[in-house]
């Protein structure tokens, strides 16, 4: 099966890299799914979960990451996801995110509320 190479990088570290068969991300004009052989693409990401269907020695699996804004770029079967902040779903502490969400809601901190929500959505998406 055809594969594409995915690099998920945050500003201060490389979060995940590996082979995948499909990557679904949300750009500012809607969700986009990238499969191997896609046309070269450069898009602006909206904050939200990114789903990576992995391939490789360990067989198929799904990696979900919370991406807080950034870019998606695809060329030569190489896909890079750039984000200032990016976290894998297993790195997210659900309880902590829930607490952060409550706190943000009570303090009416829109930015923090959005960040916590994205984390929770990513954590839920991978749990399903």
């Amino acid at each position: 099966m055809a594969e594409l190479h995915v690099e998920l990088v945050a500003a201060d570290r490389k979060v995940w890299s590996g082979e995948a068969s499909l990557v679904v991300a949300r750009t500012s004009s809607g969700d986009i799914g990238v499969m191997p052989g896609h046309q070269p693409l450069l898009g602006v990401l909206k904050p939200g979960p990114v789903t990576i269907r992995t391939t490789g020695e360990s067989g198929g699996g799904t990696v979900v990451a919370a991406v807080h804004g950034g870019f998606i770029s695809f060329a030569d079967n190489k896909l890079s996801l750039l984000a200032e902040i990016a976290e894998l779903s297993e790195e997210i502490d659900v309880q902590r995110a829930e607490r952060a969400l409550e706190r943000a809601q009570s303090e009416a901190d829109a930015a923090a509320e959005r960040r916590a929500e994205i984390r929770l959505r990513a954590a839920l998406a991978s749990a399903r």
Binding site: D12, A75, D76, E84
Partner: protein
């Protein structure tokens, strides 16, 4: 014990206490350099991908953007100076400040007004003491900058570049920071950050790969560029902050190493002097006893 010896002993004690402190600081800085270098390495993938993306937009379309267009007659420039929060780092902050002064003078000679933006307590103190105007300053993170710090710094700067010059905006942004070449060498450098020359970015990438594919832009090339360029500037500033932090630690390590060496030399020479003084005391005592004994012997011989 003679008074001289006591004074020497006291000075040796105080110098060795200082030596212990400088030695500890040297070792702390040495370990922090490694950490700072690791941070630089960790941020490289992001910076590289971002540079590649900017180059892709630059070659894939001929969009214009306020951050890339040169003003015909620039009248005001912003200078971002990166210094340290703490001292005891040799000439680290002083060299960066000197480089910024030279740049400021050159810009003034070209007929531009200069707005100073400063990072680090040392730079703020220098400008404050000389009553120079600071447009904005940030302190508290120079030895360990995070990406959020770089974002906090670049926000107002990008804002200033976008604003019209007549309304207090600037036409150019220069940055002065200390480049980390190696453990032994760190150079203060000045770079023009904005307006960004897209050709230069493209050239940088083309060194590595030749063919650029034609990209599909989502939603449009203008919007992608609009989102990309501020991130690109942030990542350049982040890189400058990280390099400055590594340089600061390297400079401090070197300064503390020479302080430790000097303390060792000082202890050695003071020990010699103390020994000499002790020997002189002993010699004097002996000659006094001998002199006293022979005087007694003479006196008793005379009485016979």
């Amino acid at each position: 014990m003679g008074a001289q010896v006591r004074i020497y002993k006291r000075r040796i004690r105080s110098v060795s206490a200082t030596k212990k402190i400088t030695k500890a600081m040297e070792m702390i800085s040495a370990s922090r350099i490694v950490k700072a270098q690791r941070q630089v390495a960790a941020s490289t993938p992001y910076a590289e991908e971002l540079t590649r993306a900017v180059a892709a937009v630059a070659t894939g379309s001929d969009t214009q953007h306020p951050l890339t267009t040169e003003t015909e007659k620039p009248t005001r420039a912003a200078v971002l100076l990166v210094t340290s929060d703490r001292g005891l780092a040799g000439g680290y902050s002083a060299n960066a400040i000197k480089a910024a002064d030279r740049l400021t003078e050159r810009l003034r000679a070209e007929g531009k007004e200069v707005d100073s933006y400063i990072i680090g307590r040392k730079g703020v103190a220098y400008y404050g003491f000389r009553d120079r105007k600071i447009a904005q300053s940030w302190t508290g993170f120079t030895d360990r900058p995070s990406y959020a710090d770089a974002k906090a710094v670049s926000g107002p700067l990008i804002e200033a570049v976008r604003r019209d010059t007549a309304e207090g905006g600037v036409d150019e942004l220069h940055i002065v920071f200390t480049e980390f070449v190696s453990m032994m060498t760190q150079n203060p450098v000045e770079k023009r950050m904005l307006p960004l020359s897209l050709d230069e970015v493209t050239r940088q990438v083309e060194k590595q790969e030749r063919i650029r594919p034609l990209y599909d832009f989502e939603p449009s090339a203008e919007e992608v560029l609009d989102a990309l360029l501020p991130r690109y500037v942030e990542s350049r500033i982040y890189n400058a902050l990280l390099q400055s932090a590594a340089s600061e630690h390297a400079a401090r390590r070197r300064a503390m190493k020479s302080a430790t060496d000097n303390a060792e030399d000082l202890i050695k020479s003071l020990t010699r002097l103390a020994n000499q003084a002790r020997q002189a005391d002993i010699t004097q005592e002996i000659s006094e006893i001998v002199g006293g004994a022979s005087a007694l012997a003479d006196a008793s011989a005379g009485s016979d």
